[in-house]
Subunit: 381 residues, 2 copies
């Protein structure tokens, strides 16, 4: 058959400094690359399956799930295809079409789509105004009271632990405390936190947590984590009437392939790196300090940063773009000359970036590069 | 943190002749291994995403999906996480809880689980008796008439193109013709056929087809294919009200990682290999001939074989097991000495196997090995 050229190489993104926050937490350590090689072929993890993926003992998926459950302090852990599939599984098993759920104003679009797929109504807890865009427990209390006062029922409450727009860290523990007074369960979306920072689901007062292997757990996608308290397991992990060992919401088995092997291989590495989260946060704060020294660059979201994802407003680059022959593409192109990628082509008014996992020197080089580009056009030579 | 030893190697299965039918169609060609390396890291295929996975142009996912749609003759193709997730997406968008669907008596367990997850009632079209276990268009007609006569409504009809128990190939074209007189859509499960044999969804009278990358398309799991006729696209690929470009049933995006890169890299290879399907079928028939020359070995399912998955009844090995000090394990262990794996440990009464993709010499060696093992215990030396 005739096939097109699919451009199946990724040298640019692999060989350069990639600032895309989506990519920073998913870089594989060598152990995971080896696992990927071992389990490349098709249904490779299923050689010794006796009917349940989560009970396979070679590779040791069963033991791994126990370790994973301890790592995030939940009673039960499963791998799913990603955080969104985890959210969908929880919504689908807990809610009926027409039900109402509470979500935060910084929720990821996949929270909306998962709810829409389940036919749910969403009531949004608003964030504060520019420039903080903060989600507070007080707003949760207010919106919750408001709903209940009006006689509305709420089946589930969702909170984004760290959002993907501003990298704001929310106070899940406080939100959970408020929610639990009503008996409603809390689902915490940890796609940007689990695997970067320590997660203790019970201390965070979360009934459910979802995480993303490819986003933040040094795994090859697609793979995610769904953790839950014991009291919800009967419902969410309900077994088939016809096939007694198969869990319905998991469609029997989920991660039947290489991604789970990479997540397993990476767990010890991820377990170590979350212990150094304070170093990452400090590096991000230093980066923000350096960037904000450039006139016309301002960090949005809560200050000081409590997460590596940073959103900058950058009128300085937008002004340059207006007169530049390459218009908005100039920034991407100037950065690329300096071997920096991951800022979307054409974007100059604002951008998101992350220096997670880079060395101190690399972070300094990146900040210096932005400064040089801004300087070059301020005083064109 | 303390982690267990997860046994993350797979030498035995990679280095020996693996007869597991689940594994034969998922072995990666070198192009796919290279793609796996390039796209190992996390969200690797999403570098140049503008909002929709299926529209990404680097790697060329968009062009690939066009080629894939041509390859199986459907109007729209999407990648999903596997055949089961494809079946669920179709059921979930077409049916309401409480609806009734028709399925065949050889349906894969994931068809049952997907239906159960959607709250559907299943009416089964029975297979014929031992030893053929055949699904016929006539039975579909009979069960359908029966249902409609009783005033029952049917939302969807499913047919397993090639089942995983006997490897029987069904007559989808004839079943589709029967079904379409009533206006009910047909979903054809091609997990064991797409990527092994040529699939022409329109000639097969299927409104939907699902395929499995890891099972039969030389891809690293989990990944599957969902193809459909244009008339169903508005419903199954319905877009979000809130995020205008995102498809709800796909939860926005599906295969955000390495598996889609391997499926893409393998498509030209898979496109070529399906053209040699008749050679594979002939090899399977030769294998069955040789195996049946062993007294106490009998092929189940339709004869002659029209697919590489073969189920044998093997009372000869079961008799040996009864007196053997290693009991049922003897067969697995004897085979392993001959560098043959993929028959479940302990299984001797019957087993499933496949010589798909092996050379003529390898197939002969495998058949000869079974013969030798049977002979050794018939006339123990």
């Amino acid at each position: 058959m005739e096939c097109q050229d699919y451009s199946l190489s990724r040298n640019t993104e692999r060989d350069n400094l990639n600032l895309n926050p989506l990519q920073r937490g998913g870089v594989l350590p060598k152990e995971a690359r080896k696992a990927l090689y071992e389990f490349s072929d098709g249904y490779s993890v299923c050689d010794y399956c006796a009917g349940r993926l989560d009970q396979i003992s070679k590779p040791q998926i069963h033991g791994f799930l126990d370790d994973l459950a301890s790592f995030i302090n939940v009673d039960h852990a499963r791998t799913v295809h990603g955080a969104r599939e985890g959210k969908f599984a929880v919504m689908h098993s807990l809610c009926k079409p027409g039900d109402t759920i509470l979500i935060d104003g910084n929720a990821h679009y996949t929270t909306h789509i998962a709810a829409e797929r389940c036919g749910l109504n969403m009531v949004e807890v608003p964030h504060t105004d520019h420039p903080e865009f903060k989600i507070t427990p007080e707003s949760y209390q207010e919106v919750l009271d408001n709903q209940l006062d009006r006689g509305g029922e709420i089946s589930l409450v969702l909170l984004t632990h760290v959002d993907g727009n501003y990298g704001n860290l929310t106070d899940s523990s406080a939100v959970g405390k408020i929610i639990h007074k009503t008996g409603i369960p809390l689902l915490l979306n940890c796609a940007y936190s689990m695997g970067r920072m320590p997660i203790d689901a019970k201390a965070l007062n979360a009934d459910f947590v979802v995480g993303s292997g490819h986003k933040s757990m040094a795994a090859s996608g697609p793979i995610g984590v769904l953790g839950m308290k014991d009291e919800w397991a009967d419902l969410v992990l309900k077994k088939s009437l016809r096939h007694a060992v198969k869990e319905i919401e998991m469609l029997g088995c989920t991660s039947r392939g290489a991604p789970v092997a990479t997540l397993m291989a990476s767990l010890p590495y991820v377990g170590e790196r979350v212990e150094k989260w304070d170093v990452e946060v400090q590096k991000t704060r230093d980066f923000v300090d350096k960037m904000e020294k450039i006139e016309g660059v301002k960090q949005l979201g809560v200050k000081p940063k409590e997460h590596d994802l940073v959103r900058f407003e950058t009128p300085v680059f937008d002004r340059i773009a207006q007169d530049h022959p390459r218009r908005g593409f100039f920034l991407y192109e100037e950065l690329k000359k300096k071997k920096i990628v991951g800022i979307k082509r054409g974007q100059t008014r604002w951008f998101k970036c992350s220096v997670y996992g880079f060395s101190e020197d690399q972070m300094n080089y990146i900040a210096e590069s932005f400064k040089e580009i801004a300087g070059k056009y301020k005083n064109p030579s």
